[in-house]
């Protein structure tokens, strides 16, 4: 096709099917793209009206969806792949290699030993991640196990939860922790009066972590890690992802700006400033300053506030009657007064707040506080989003609707830890209502779902599958009545997540004016067996009109 000089190039893509998530025309055959944005979605006859164009048929056998949006992930998932994957479930690395799950302690030792043979650098630690001994019939992974890999090199393996680390004797020696007299709940001691090698919680992990390559600066994603995260996004069909909790010091921001600006960086990253180590005033001031540095592929200016801990760590704040096993009712990570001050200042300055609340009491505190702030300073479209919000009951969802609050729920938890929630943490009844996606939708609460990668793997199609089926690793359907249908599930991983990030006017559906962000699938999610949704092949993505083919990453 001829193109007039000076005119922007228009490309019209054909596809087997295009699912737009636009209810006015949900399924079309073509989409026209100009300047990285969508001119229109419809038939070829409709689209040629835009003038000179090129027809591109490369997707004629493929199915296009809006680029998938991951509303709660951490770019550290990219960094972790420099270490040895030790998880129970198969997982794909940024370069496309599928690492089979480690099913036994012997298999774990063999995997680490193999890596030990390959990474023969005397001065370096051997590091693993993703371990989940819950599946080893409660047999813990201790230093004696890892000493079988190597006695004279420090070895550490981060568990899937991110809250526990298993280390060998050498690592304990280097941290000066091969000694008796340690009296800390996070450091179990063996019959010999010495640490077993399991380090639980950040305090216990930190002194050893620095000797096994797992120091906490890790979470401030490194440059190769960010690029690796970008490649993972393409493999999983994600075109917009979050780095939900970072201190965002200026060096990290400069690095992220530089990397995301690269021509081949394939994702839009929404990075949020976590409330930690500063006063509420300085927090909001920093968020406002960050907002002024926002760009298309690096969105800045929102705040994340962690209100309580985790359910599996028994640190989430639960209302009466608390934990099923009688554990104390959890921990506050902020004082209610600080939460109030952050919300006051953030709403006043149009800074969006995402609040991590795992337990129902934490959720209730945020709603109480927000109600009080709003009654004094009514703010339209504050779009406060509760992250995880795993235990909210129906009454809390009704209040969310009234207060304009959205949720980003965590149905992946049902698959990976649902059996433990049923048996141990919250008990059968509340385990069934955890991550109440159907209740959220029934009450008109804006819904997104997330992976919290690297806690669970990045992969929105798998998340949608979890929300549809609520199947646990042992095969139990946990909370049949909270399952959602396919259309709603697909909406949560596109428009739903985009709404939670205040990006629904730019991404989340394929319609005129939005960013040309597509996920390119081998199969049509509306036609496959619902149980196969998570297994649909992903050819790649189109992000801002740029084409990313998984096979060429």
């Amino acid at each position: 096709m001829a193109r007039l000089d000076g005119d922007a190039m228009t490309t019209i893509y054909s596809a087997r099917t295009i699912l737009t998530m636009n209810p006015a025309r949900p399924v079309v055959s073509h989409v026209a793209v100009r300047d990285g944005r969508i001119l229109g979605a419809g038939s070829i006859d409709e689209l040629i009206g835009w003038g000179p164009h090129t027809i591109d048929d490369r997707f004629r056998d493929k199915v296009l969806m809006p680029g998938l949006v991951e509303g709660h992930s951490h770019t550290s998932e990219g960094s972790l792949w420099q270490f040895v994957y030790c998880g129970y479930f198969d997982r794909t690395d940024p370069d496309g290699r599928v690492w089979p799950g480690v099913k036994t302690i012997d298999a774990l030792v063999e995997r680490m030993a193999e890596a030990n043979r390959q990474r023969r650098r005397a001065d370096s630690a051997l590091t693993g991640w993703g371990l989940d001994p819950i599946y080893f019939k409660d047999r813990r992974v201790e230093r004696a196990d890892l000493d079988r890999v190597e006695r004279d090199r420090p070895i550490g393996i981060m568990h899937a939860s991110g809250h526990i680390m298993s280390v060998n004797t050498k690592a304990l020696e280097m941290a000066n922790m091969m000694r008796s007299g340690i009296n800390h709940p996070g450091v179990p001691m063996g019959a010999d009066g010495l640490p077993t090698g399991e380090m639980k919680g950040p305090e216990a992990m930190t002194p050893v972590g620095v000797h096994v390559g797992l120091d906490r600066a890790l979470l401030a994603s490194d440059e190769p890690g960010l690029r690796a995260f970008g490649r993972l996004c393409v493999r999983k069909g994600v075109t917009t992802a979050t780095d939900l909790a970072s201190l965002l010091p200026s060096d990290a921001v400069k690095m992220m700006q530089r990397v995301t600006r690269e021509d081949d960086f394939p994702a839009r990253i929404v990075a949020m400033r976590v409330f930690r180590g500063v006063s509420p005033t300085d927090l909001v001031r920093h968020a406002m300053e960050l907002r002024s540095h926002t760009s298309d592929r690096l969105r800045l200016g929102a705040i994340k506030i962690v209100v309580d801990g985790s359910i599996q760590g028994f640190s989430a704040r639960l209302r009466w009657p608390g934990y099923y096993n009688g554990a104390p009712p959890g921990l506050w990570y902020v004082a209610p007064e600080q939460l109030r001050e952050v919300l006051d200042l953030a709403l006043l300055n149009q800074i969006q707040v995402h609040a991590h609340t795992n337990g129902d009491e934490a959720t209730e505190l945020v709603l109480d506080t927000l109600a009080s702030v709003l009654s004094k300073a009514p703010t339209l479209d504050h779009r406060l989003t509760l992250q995880h919000c795993q235990l909210a009951d129906t009454a809390l969802f009704r209040r969310m609707k009234l207060l304009g609050v959205g949720v980003n729920l965590f149905p992946n938890h049902h698959y990976f830890w649902g059996d433990q929630h049923y048996a141990l943490t919250v008990g059968p009844e509340r385990a069934e209502r955890m991550n109440a996606c159907a209740t959220a939708l029934a009450n008109g609460v804006p819904l997104a779902i997330h992976s919290d990668a690297p806690v669970t793997p990045l992969g929105p199609l798998f998340m949608a599958w979890c929300a549809m089926h609520r199947i646990t690793a042992s095969g139990r359907t946990l909370g049949r009545h909270e399952r959602i249908n396919l259309n709603d599930a697909l909406k949560t991983i596109t428009l739903g997540a985009a709404y939670s990030l205040k990006l629904d006017h730019e991404v989340g559906s394929i319609e005129c004016g939005k960013r040309a962000d597509f996920t390119v699938l081998d199969e049509n999610p509306l036609e496959v067996d619902p149980m196969a949704l998570k297994d649909i092949g992903i050819w790649g993505t189109v992000q801002g009109g740029r084409i990313f083919d998984v096979s060429r990453l």
Partner: protein, 316 residues
Amino acid sequence: MTSIALGRRSALPVTIIGGYLGAGKTSLINHLLRSACERRIAVLVNEFGALPIDTDLIEAAAGHVLTLSGGCICCSYGDDLITALMSFGSRIDEFDDILVECSGVALPDSVAASLTLVSGVHLQGIVVIVDASNIESKLSDRYVADTVRRQLAAADRLLINKTDLVSLPRLQNIEHMLASDFPRAKIVLTAHGAVDSGAIFGPQTFCGFVGDAQRSPHDLTTLSSTTFEIHNPIDIAALAANLCDRKLSLVRAKGVLLDLDGKWMVLQIVDQRIQITTARTQHRRHGSLVCIAHPGPMDRLALTAAVAAPVLPRQT
């Protein structure tokens, strides 16, 4: 195989300062830094918050570390206390004490447990501060009551602060309630965090509360102390003679003071015995003097006159 513990002489004592948000932890720390005398204190704070270290105490600021007068420093640790503590395990010769300020919702016994993970430090004690003006409401708050209770239960010393904001009967009720609910803790009353540093750094030097505090009428046994800040040059010999006046009934006095020659000196008086030595750290901007008196009414006017007379008005 080597151990990093080699060459370690002993461990640095750590005092944990806990208490709910707003109870007065930062005021206490400012007061302790002011009246530190010769102690070199490393303060680890959760954050440089809205009520920071008094600016006149700060000599230099670099990132997360403030250098303070008198060889003290203040570091903010965010949520990584362990890394901050590990950096002190090897600096045992630089400091006499570490103060750890907990965040407003932290559990001090959890912080104490984490000390056992770090070599080179040991727990000296847990001080938990109570805001007398709101402790009753915090202990019945639906969200934080259990957190506040767990904080109080961890204390070996409970500082009831802001006593100037409540009536005497109410103060007595609070003191009674805390004493019966938390019998393990020694209770000290104060206002503006102005407590004698002995009450914080060790029982061996414990000497009661500072004169500013409102005092329980039934308490006639506690020594009382008064702290003066003296930044101008002073005739130390004359001051010492004044303080030995038996009418003041001082048990002892200790101070770091600028003498008339512009040198920082340490004055110590114990039972009328006077000792004046050159201060270890000359690079400082603040002088202070703590006077400790026998139980019973203190003649504060006479004491103030005895201290004020030898002070030289500073030429500016």
